[in-house]
Structures are given as C-alpha cells and as structure tokens.
Symmetry: C2
DNA sequence: TCTTGTCCTGCGGGAACCCGCAAATTTTGC
DNA sequence: GCAAAATTTGCGGGTTCCCGCAGGACAAGA
C-alpha cells in the first residue's frame, strides 16, 4: 500500500507524513508532492490509489488535481485536508466526485485522532468521512431555504466573471429574460436588498453587490473564480 | 525582552516559537496568541514590544490587529509573516504602518535563515526587512505604469462592495462624473478591454469585470473586502 | 503672464441593467 | 392523462452605467 501526500506547506506535509505512518502501519511508502501539478504527475506515474490532498495550492489547486486524478482512475481514494470549509470549496469538491468514489474531507483544525481515524476509514474501509462542519454546509444547500441551487450558482459565477446578461444568455442557451430572472432569485437569496445602515434604496448596484455578498459569505472564493476564468478562456468566450 | 507570536496555525506557531528562541537567545519569554483579537489583548496586557504576526486569521486578521497595537504603542516592532504576497495584503500593511515604525514582511516560504535574520534585524537592530518579492509589488505601484494609485484603489474597493456611482460620489465627496472618470482609469489600468477569446465588444460588464480582474490578480482579496465592508457598515452607509 | 498639464464638473445619448406583467412552455405529482 | 407548479420567454418602461465632448479650476514652469 502506497499513499501520496499533496501539500505545499512543508510543515503540514511532514506532519501529514507522520500521521499517515502512525495511522497506517501497513503502509509501505509515503510519497510527497508540493503542488497540484506535480501531484497529478506523481499519481499517474506511481499509480497511487490513496491520496491526501490539500486544497488551495499554487500551480494547480487540489480540486483540479483531484479531478484529473479521478478522471484517470475513478477508484482512487482521496482524503481532502483543508484549512477552510468555504462553501465554494465544498461545492467544488462535490462537483468532481465520480459516481461511487470514496473520499473524505477533514479540516486542518481537526485533532490528531480525527485525522488518523479519517485516514483509516477512507483508505482501509473505503468509507466516506466528511467533517461535521462541511456536512452542515452541504445540507444547507440542498434544503434550499437559503442555499443556492446549482443553476443559480452557475449564474453567479458567470456574473462574477464580469459577463453581461446577454453573454450569459448565449453561454447558457437561455433567453435574456431568463438570465435576468435567475439573477433576481439570486438577489433574493443573497439578501442583496437588505441595506446596512440607512440611505435610499438605490445605494447598491445589485449585480455587483450580489458578488460581494457571495465573497463575504465564502459562497465564492478566489480559487473558484480562477477555475471559472480558465474555463471561460478555454471555451473561447462563447 | 519578550516576544509575542500571533498565529492561528498550531504547527506554524510552534515552528515560530522555536525559531524565535534560536534566533534570539536574549529573549526571556515567548508568548503566543492564536487569533488576532487575543493577540491585541495580550499585546496590551503584557506590553509586548516585539510581535510576530500572521496575516489572515479568523476572528480578526493580522492587519487589523497590528493597527490597533500600533495605535496604542507606535514603537512596537512587528514582523509580518504571511503565506502570500497579495498586493492587497502589501497595500493593507503599508496603509497602517505609523510614521517611523519598524516592521518586517517575510513569506512563509522563506528559509529558516531568512526568518531568523529578519527576526534579529527587526527586533534587535530596529531595521525594516521587506521580502524581495513583496518589495517588488510595492515598487510596481509607485512607478505607476500599471499599478493603481491610492485614489483608484479606493474607488475599486467601493465598487467591489457593490455601491452605485452615486453612492460613491457621496462618500468620496465628488461629482458623479468624477467617479465615472476614475472608473474609466481603473478600466484602463486593469486591462478590462482586453477580451479573452473572440466575440463582439459587449461581452463584459466593465464594473464587474474590473473587480474580477482585480481579484484574479490579487489586487483585491477577501480580507480586504471584509475590512471595507465593516468600515462601510460602521460609517452608517453614507 | 501665458502656456501646459492635470483634475473636476456638467451635458447628452446609447447601451445595459432591473423588474412588473402576462402568455407560452416544461416539469412535476397523482 | 391531466392539472398544478415551476420555468422560460417577450414586452415595455424606468433607472443606472459608460463615455465622448467641452468648459472650468488649480498648480507648475518658461
């Protein structure tokens, strides 16, 4: 059994290394990569079936690396180990998990015990282990009281990239008006109309405000934007 | 001599602790705080004159903590120790450094040697030590080829918060047209007109696109937005 | 003093945005 | 198969944004 660790922070990497050795005595080799890109390459070259992956790395972030790894070997077991439980990350991971794949998501703030337990559960028992906090965020979005639907989230991303309504309509193959409808739903769900402080109604540019609120609530974050921007450029702009 | 470490990651905190003890044998006590708020409190209570400060912490980030510490004791020596050299951070730090204060800015990716050297230089020699990479970003903004002026940056932040042109005009005590002028400068400097891919001119909502580009280039980041949002709410919205 | 440069300001218009209303269409549940 | 519910689409208008043009205010320099 071999485990690949993908993590850019040296301290965290060596901590992980130790944790893996302690939790999985049956593990022969522990490999390391210090960014997403080299993580992909190593996983491919060494046929690693067990990966511990940090999110947010330079070069290529954990979500993208995981996606290509899973594309090549959907049965790879991946344990995500992240500082934050931003909705954007949670959503990003959920989007790329293949049918029936086993994975885990634990926060760096978790205790040693939790980490080791997760390592054993995911790698040995093929059991998914999602941190309680992360799980909470997942739930909130399905029980769509305030959470955004996928459709709404996609529109949000397009808006955040700076596309016009017309451009979005074309990308999404919708009429102009439909895009605007979805935008209005978005505005409601993000409480864009709630005005901090006083002043007349017209203090906010709604489309911009929606994105600001999404960023403040971590529904969106920089790495989600980067991903979307890259996709946009690849798809040639239309 | 006492040193206060403000850092939320336990691994990094203990690493720092060791580094401080190694670099500064004359140091009697090393204190620790695990978020910005308790950092402020400890600094006040213990009259720490030497602080190592992480940026981006929950509760209160390093820049805000440093500001209140410096407000109370402008001669405090602060060494910022950060993962990133986002322009937003660099600018945020520069904005709060008091006249003649001594501080440092080193990246977490720096070697042990660099860190220890910086510790000695800042705390013992009262000499400012700014990481080469960070310095580069500072320069770029003064030699205003592409860098944003402070005026432009402020407008950018207001736009990113979602304020309308009119609201910004009122906040900044300018005419509507002046705000729009500044916006146009912003659009130029951020290359908002450069279109990835093909398509007619009108693919982008310029105001939104400008913010997107700023985020992608790290001219803005989430914590800068949070700060601005808090200021906005405190100032009652006008 | 007279340029020259930079910044602020007002005017005007074309484009984009925001959204109420109502009809057409698709999806859902039974 | 049908009715209810949700989604999509078009129309029309009020508002905001984007920006070219041009006239003023103020400072620096010949």
């Amino acid at each position: 059994m071999r485990v690949l660790i993908v993590e850019d922070d040296p301290l965290h990497r060596s901590y992980l290394n130790e944790a893996v050795r302690a939790a999985l005595p049956e593990c022969e080799t522990v490999l390391e990569a210090d960014n997403g890109l080299s993580g992909e390459l190593q996983a491919r070259k060494l046929r690693a079936e067990h990966v511990v992956m940090d999110l947010q790395m330079s070069e290529r972030n954990g979500i993208e690396a995981a996606r290509t790894i899973w594309r090549e070997r959907p049965d790879t077991k991946i344990l995500f180990w992240s500082n934050y439980s931003d909705e954007a990350y949670v959503r990003g991971v959920a989007r790329i998990v293949p049918e029936g794949a086993t994975y885990g998501y634990v926060l760096k703030s978790a205790s040693d015990e939790r980490l080791k337990l997760a390592l054993r559960s995911v790698f040995m028992e093929s059991q998914c282990v999602i941190d309680r906090e992360v799980r909470g965020i997942q739930q909130k979005n399905l029980g769509n009281a305030h959470g955004l639907s996928d459709a709404e989230y996609e529109i949000l991303v397009d808006v955040a990239l700076g596309l016009t309504d017309k451009a979005i309509a074309q990308r999404k193959k919708l009429s102009l008006r439909s895009v605007q409808n979805r935008l209005q739903q978005l505005y409601e769900k993000l409480d864009v109309y709630e005005i901090p402080g006083d002043g007349p109604e017209g203090w906010y540019n709604l489309r911009m405000r929606a994105v600001a609120v999404a960023l403040l609530r971590k529904v969106l974050n920089a790495s989600a934007l980067e991903r979307a921007e890259r996709e946009l450029r690849n798809s040639g702009g239309h």
